[in-house]
Symmetry: C2
Subunit: 363 residues, 2 copies
């Protein structure tokens, strides 16, 4: 007890001196409180769970001195307003999918997933070692932000369709709820992309206001109940070979942080990548089994449909690269890496995985 | 100047009080120095590069107060003595592949890679969310250690062979340098596994003392020059669908750390996973191209060879599960997860990757 009282007295002395100037020792672990706006509802224990994991890690790393309070979509700003809120300083940071902001600049799609782009490991490799994150930060700087990658969803599903898709003809006029930049490709091949918030998708699909809807993958999709109103579950989600999340920080607030608090955000963000991606990989398999038991009919998109969309996507990329320097630079970098990476991935990775898949059904 | 002097005086006051009892503020960031013994030579800028990345991150996270000095294999102890050195407290921590210690307990192989086990993402998912790391820590506790996952090599190659492998018959009597527990499977199908340190493999292969050797993958293998003396480069390395590294800490030293320094090690270790795995995924593709230009002949193991080895592996696992509680528990857990995971991975992940691979060669 005596020791505590002694220390408490010492603490008061420090507090008093802080009125004159913050002492060096106290500066090394200042108490800082930030707010984080997430693009996800709390019901997504994958992505929002990752945000809670991240803020806990930052607190753990700083002896609870750096407290980041997370807010779900809609609590401070809507899920698609996170970049604006961070840019304006309404919140110090956000957790979001950068492709939500493709309307500001289509190059934001490289942050989350370029359609027909990279898979989860390729995306992380390109961002860390291929200059991808530096190029994204050149773009984010124009919005007074800096970013660091966090969790990925893994490759996503192609969504829930009320009718079978047998050829590109079946996409013509199809009202399809699809996220982000991918809608421009759907439109180019004759579909009618729809922007609908998560909570409104189910009733629209039930009433037939829309014909199809994609969200994420088995575990997240199951919560929205799509299987009850649209049985055909298509794959792959060619617009999201990965679904890469980012933490974004207001640049001025970031620069004012002690270096080791910056390190806490950076390191905990990459830790969150392992946690979130690992979680998706753990919860999706049983969710897929449950969906199949509930009547979902798994269907691969026909090769012709994929090739038509692939061609349309590349035409859009070629056009954008001519007029948008960010887009052109990132696309050239990503495409060069992807080509070499695929040649390697199909050797050890693909042959190991496909052998194990064959033996699973054989056993 | 006045402010500094004022603070200095305050600092002296604190130092004086520390003689009575360490003040809370000074305790929150104590200066601690640790030594880390790695299982890798410095020439492996992938794995040893990951160790340097990790120790830098820990310093960054703690305002340079927690300094972990890394040592390469052989500087303090040999690459295969890291667990002993950490257990004995010769060093506070190590960075290693747990399967090196399969001679102490074959269940250590689950830490790095069970032959015909999991791929990189599956391994991380199983460790974090499937209880894998908890089970490994139950085992590590018997060696007075605690572990946390770090970087992975990705799926490895099957190695360099002087002659073609057309059937399991060609493995009979084959002197094959192969790491870890996999040698028991090679022996069961008639091969002669060899334990040879990295630096001695090349001359043995050149002289024909051995017939084949596996190491890691294109980038690391290239440095050892195997392509000059054994042209056939087989895939996949079915004994390493991933090559998962671990940081291991002496349990007593770990428990004495402040909680936020423990958090620094944990979080920086997962950050290192993203960095190392991303690095392998970035440097392997161009290395493979260079090896092919140098005359390497890529060959898949025949399906019959893979199936024979798979059967032999499962017989060994069944036997070990009867007598080794750690092995039995981890194998049951891993096998259940793997089965569901493969069923899911072949939907979105495999169909996305394989479409992209097809389009690469078509374009």
């Amino acid at each position: 007890m005596k020791r505590r009282e002694f220390l408490k007295a010492g603490g008061v002395g420090l507090a008093a001196s802080a009125a004159v100037a913050a002492p060096a020792i106290a500066q090394s672990m200042p108490e800082i409180k930030w707010r984080l706006a997430a693009s996800w509802p709390k019901s997504l224990d994958t992505l929002y769970g990752g945000v809670e994991f991240f803020t806990k890690r930052v607190a753990d790393l700083t002896d609870n001195k750096f407290q980041i309070q997370p807010f779900a979509a809609g609590e401070i700003v809507g899920g698609l307003q996170v970049l604006d809120a961070v840019q304006n300083g309404t919140v110090e940071m956000g957790n979001t999918a950068l492709y939500y902001y493709w309307g500001k600049n289509p190059a934001f799609t490289f942050g989350t997933s370029l359609p027909f782009g990279l898979n989860t490991r390729q995306q992380m490799s390109w961002m860390i070692h291929g200059g991808g994150m530096d190029m994204l930060n050149d773009l984010l700087k124009e919005y007074k932000c800096i970013g660091v990658p966090t969790g990925s969803t893994g490759a996503q599903m192609g969504g829930w369709f009320r009718k079978e898709i047998k050829s590109t003809e079946d996409l013509k006029g199809l009202k399809f709820r699809v996220g982000g930049f991918a809608g421009t490709i759907i439109a180019k091949v004759g579909g009618v992309p729809q922007q609908i918030a998560a909570g409104d998708i189910y009733p629209a699909l039930e009433k037939g206001t829309i014909d199809a809807a994609e969200w994420v993958g088995p575990y997240d999709d199951e919560k929205l109940g799509f299987v009850k109103v649209a049985k055909y579950y298509y794959y792959p989600g060619w617009w999201e070979g990965t679904g890469q999340g980012h933490n974004i920080m207001n640049l001025e607030k970031w620069n004012a942080l002690p270096k080791h608090y910056q390190a806490a955000i950076t390191t905990a963000s990459y830790d969150t990548y392992a946690w979130v991606t690992g979680k998706y990989d753990y919860v999706n398999p049983p969710a897929l089994k449950r969906l199949l038991a509930s009547g979902a009919i798994l269907k691969p998109f026909p090769q012709e449909v994929l090739e038509t969309c692939y061609k349309a996507a590349n035409e859009i990329y070629a056009d954008l690269s001519k007029t948008n320097a960010h887009f052109g630079k990132m696309h050239a970098s990503l495409a060069a890496f992807r080509s070499d990476s695929l040649a390697w991935m199909q050797v050890a990775e693909l042959s190991f995985d496909s052998f194990m898949m064959r033996m699973r059904t054989k056993a």
